[in-house]
Symmetry: C2
């Protein structure tokens, strides 16, 4: 690895810029995000920003990748227990004003920028999704869910209603909703002849 001459780029500035970008998306959304504001808030010259990223989009893509939400990876012994624990973590995200604003701010950006859409899908959304997928697959392996279960469909049946209520209907994004979605998936994918075993409630 050759070492370039001259002063090396400041790691602190780099991280401060990414951190500030996320903070500002939370506060004002993606569309209202300006390079001037990022540089000023990060205590950095604009030239320093443009030296590293050629556009706002490129900066945001990298910043999104840096959001590493703490997603649990539970193994309670039952699909219902695992899924509900993951759903509670998602409820907490929607309940946190900062995270919620970030999400709604990114939705508009996703619709207009494919790179940003991919970053969100493989980033913090993808992490949650992967954890839920593992919980479902363990449930299938245990025989709690049918082997032919459409996992992608099941995932969207659980994540979708929360997102929909949060962004569109404005209805409560609460435990009852999470429970209803999980129960619907468990009942729909229950092995033939098995009776449901609602240990946490029944739904809808």
């Amino acid at each position: 690895m050759t070492r370039a001459p001259g002063r090396p780029r400041s790691k602190e500035a780099h991280e401060a810029i990414l951190r500030t970008a996320i903070t500002l998306i939370r506060e004002v959304g993606y569309d209202a995000l300006t390079m001037d504001a990022i540089a000023a808030r990060a205590g950095v010259g604009k030239a320093t920003v443009y030296r590293r990223w050629k556009s706002r989009e490129a900066l945001v893509v990298e910043a999104i990748g840096g959001i590493v939400a703490a997603v649990p990876d539970p193994d309670t012994g039952s699909a219902e227990g695992d899924l509900m624990q993951l759903m509670r973590a998602t409820l907490a995200m929607y309940a946190d004003p900062a995270s919620a604003a970030l999400l709604s701010g990114l939705v508009a950006a996703m619709a207009r920028s494919e790179p940003i859409a991919q970053a969100v899908r493989t980033g913090f959304v993808g992490m949650r999704r992967a954890a839920m997928r593992r919980a479902l697959e363990r449930g299938i392996a245990r025989g709690e869910l049918r082997a032919e279960t459409d996992v992608e469909l099941a995932l969207d049946l659980m994540s979708g209603p929360l997102f929909w209520r949060f962004l569109v209907t404005g209805g409560p994004v609460d435990q009852a909703l999470a429970q209803g979605a999980v129960q619907a998936v468990l009942r729909a994918s229950a092995p033939d002849g098995s009776s449901p075993h609602p240990t946490e409630g029944r739904a809808p």
Copy 2:
């Protein structure tokens, strides 16, 4: 009713402005929507726009109210038939690039403006929701669904996954998804002891 003196306001201009606002939200989204562009495209002076609406937000709220999507109100005799027909209409909306762009353009606006959020909820989203609610309630009256069914939850279990896939995962918003969501609701809300009767498929 007294008649004001002077030249009356042009109904044509009024409607052209509202129509153009919708068209431009589809094309560029809400954030990039400008009064100059609306006036120019509508063939109208900016003063004419500002004479009627004091802000872009007020204009958009009224324009949203004018979107009267043709929502079917089916009565096929079964909850499954009715719901699937409504879901197919929703699929068609997502499949239409114009409507889809409009929806994603409005999501960002809803997050930042409560009047706009209300207009969307009571407007074209509310119409679809009301039709689905009627289908569910007929199903309850017929005994296809339990009387204690949480109708609001059931509605969100069906609408949410489509919205989620469309905006976030980018997965297919197709018949299989609609069917999976409807089947999950029907199974979850089936009366005790009844066997499901999947006439259109099984899911997930």
